[in-house]
Assembly symmetry: D2
Homo-oligomer: 260 residues x 4
């Protein structure tokens, strides 16, 4: 039995560090690396890619709206052609930087508000998929199970990776409970670790009404932007390993640079 | 007999257009395309690259300091590692975008203050050359004849293209007369066209003391950011053609995308 | 009889000029000046404010979402406190710059996507009004007649200026016809000039179904970002003057700097 | 006997916090607050100004080159008029925000590379002083003793505050030892506290050759961007208080908003 653990990395910018990427790289199998539009200047990108390459961790492009001040967390009504160009630019940049660092970009995970938007908005979803198709349709796309962008990507021949969130509560319909609702984020480390293990082993998770629901997770997202977050990520990994689950990336980690 | 004509393009940004790229593409053989750090958002880049590809014009990366507000015209005391990363990021981005547009990036021409600085500063010159070497040492570098960055690039095995300026006065030592000096920029169209033709045919230009000096120009830079500039560029081309000189790029124009 | 004519100005940024502010300042009575978030770097702001002060044209703050790449034309889902702070920052900056230039900021006109959004969104409208109230409730607000932000501002004791658009078609309900609809923008100069004159003299305009509707316009917006636009603006002014209408700002033009 | 302690604050940006401003505000008497060009978005500015106002800490404008990616630590060759406009814009913005927060800006301390540059470069120094004079010559300027900008400001009638650095080694000539030299930064807390106390009580400090030199410090700069830095700042304050020295700002803290 196996699963991928992914986490956001390389989210510093200039003078401002963010998160403990060094610790995370010994925990996760896939690193979502910022491309400069919500975080991640070129120096941060290059050093994070180099660290990931050395540790044998798979790397993905964490593409975003162009919004450093808002960290890519604010929806922006970007026209389709501009969004395609913005994503293609970020993908191009990180792919070249990855090759320098001795690795390659195996997948794309949209960040923040863009991730949420294209789960439901077919116009922006199409624009993002167009960028993938034009740059390299061999890259996988990480998204919520059942998302609109997942459907569009699949139709375009792109491999879709279904993602679950380790510390988030789910509704009986399988959606994430809004962060505005009390209990939306689960903070008990043992409980979170047990939930993730059960997701992988049984394909189920307990929803916020107490009932079990089915959940398909090719990759589970963990966080690393606080000391508590790193400890939780480590506990999740330890629990999975103890339960006999292999933590492996969903794409092969290239050793010799970009495949293109 | 042959020479390359190059011009800066794709220097709009968002709402702000700049220059008449459409007209220039019927005049020059090489297009220096902004990469987003001094000008050129992703949409502008993609459309300019696409136009250049359709017209069979060679494309180069017009890399810059990160300074939109100053259009890359202000020296910045960037640390070497950061400068290497900044240039590598821009090169990576435009190379990927060029492949989407059906062409490839054959050369690098640093822009504005960076161009001037690395003609004389070995530290920043080394940082820029390092970026080229790491991204693709097969790209040529456009610089002033005798520049420090040209020497460093040549030692690193990079092809160096010597550039002359069509409308600029030269000192008896072969340096450009400072723009602050009256007469530094020659505005008479016929005179400029005749000078360029003589540079190519005879390898000489009349310096500002009236004497002739030797000048080696693999490529001649023309401008297109005003109606008068486009007319002058066209006059230069017409004169060269009338004098039996072929206008051809110094690198082959790829038809099937990036060579890498 | 009197009316104000307003136009956007100071929308260059660094290397990129935009529009013919010099020509517009001899036409309009109020200048909406960009504050740096969608356009207008500090040098552009200062020179535009100085020109307006010399010509005796009233100045307003053209505040925007923080989006240079999109020229403030894309809706952004900014949190209320952040939006209030962003607008307060822009208002503070331009008020100080106006005082240096020998004038003062008499009003606020939100720009682009923000202007449209707060005509209908009470949350962002409230955030913008909060900024005005905190910075100086003596400044007027320019908005569409009947807009949500107008109601909120009026309740907060702010003077609300109702704006009409010279070259836009109106629905029978008095709303602007969407730019996506053919005929949304009227390009015949004489027709536009006649419409504006009738708006002022009779308080009516012909809607796109051919019927007349009532329209209350304290200020009419004209454009200046193309040669044709300036000519149309001048024709509107000439027609109004010929029809005996005075072109006067709706706020007094300060002569000795900020009133605060 | 009395002295001012100052520290940089409000240097977060969007998602990225920096330093422990809450702790510092109970230690220092003057807060240098970022204005958005090297750090400090409008929300951060407003909350930092509000905290400072509540704690009765004097506030100053920490103006910078426009360089978020480099945190204002890289020299930029900005033209004089542009530099004056950039500084005037920042001063205007923070003065308006300070009034909203119930305080006023009593002084200006240039940040990073700009601080260092104008200590010796008369052209950029003049440009910065021009901005102060135009916005409000009643604000004081914080700079190194003997700096070029201090002389220019004094001639323009601006009050000049001489600044010493708590943890930096000095040459026998009274200059700061370059950070590239081992021992440039003193890390022993007791030693630093003792040096600061002696600077204030005796007007001398031990230079890096072991001899005592004269030093005039109206204000001493302490740091707060690491847990160790805050502890050192607190130790300095405690030592000064124990030695009978009052920690008081060099400008009065306004209670009712901007004086203008």
């Amino acid at each position: 039995m196996r699963v991928d653990l992914n986490s956001d990395m390389g989210e510093g910018f200039g003078r401002w560090p963010l998160g403990d990427d060094g610790a995370l790289l010994s925990i996760v199998s896939s690193a979502n690396i910022a491309c400069g539009f919500h975080a991640g200047d070129p120096s941060v990108m290059l050093s994070t890619l180099t660290m990931a390459a050395r540790r044998g961790v798979s790397v993905g492009a964490h593409v975003s709206y162009r919004d450093l001040a808002g960290f890519g967390r604010r929806f922006m009504d970007v026209a389709s052609d501009d969004l395609t160009a913005d994503v293609a630019y970020q993908l191009s940049a990180i792919r070249g930087m990855a090759r320098i660092a001795g690795t390659s970009v195996g997948y794309v995970k949209p960040h923040g508000a863009l991730y949420n938007r294209i789960a439901a908005d077919p116009v922006q979803a199409e624009a993002v998929v167009n960028a993938l198709v034009r740059v390299d349709p061999g890259m996988a796309l990480v998204t919520l199970p059942g998302s609109v962008v997942g459907d569009i990507a699949a139709k375009a021949g792109i491999r879709v990776i279904r993602e679950a969130f380790a510390d988030r509560a789910y509704t009986p319909q399988g959606a994430l409970v809004s962060r505005r609702v009390p209990g939306a984020v689960i903070t008990d480390v043992d409980q979170v670790a047990a939930r993730v293990s059960r997701m992988v082993r049984e394909g189920v998770v307990t929803a916020d009404d107490g009932g079990d629901i089915s959940i398909q997770a090719d990759s589970v997202c963990v966080h690393g932007d606080s000391p508590g977050a790193v400890a939780m990520a480590r506990a999740i990994r330890d629990r999975l390993v103890a339960d006999g689950i292999d933590i492996v990336p969903f794409v092969d980690v290239a050793s010799g640079g970009d495949r293109v």
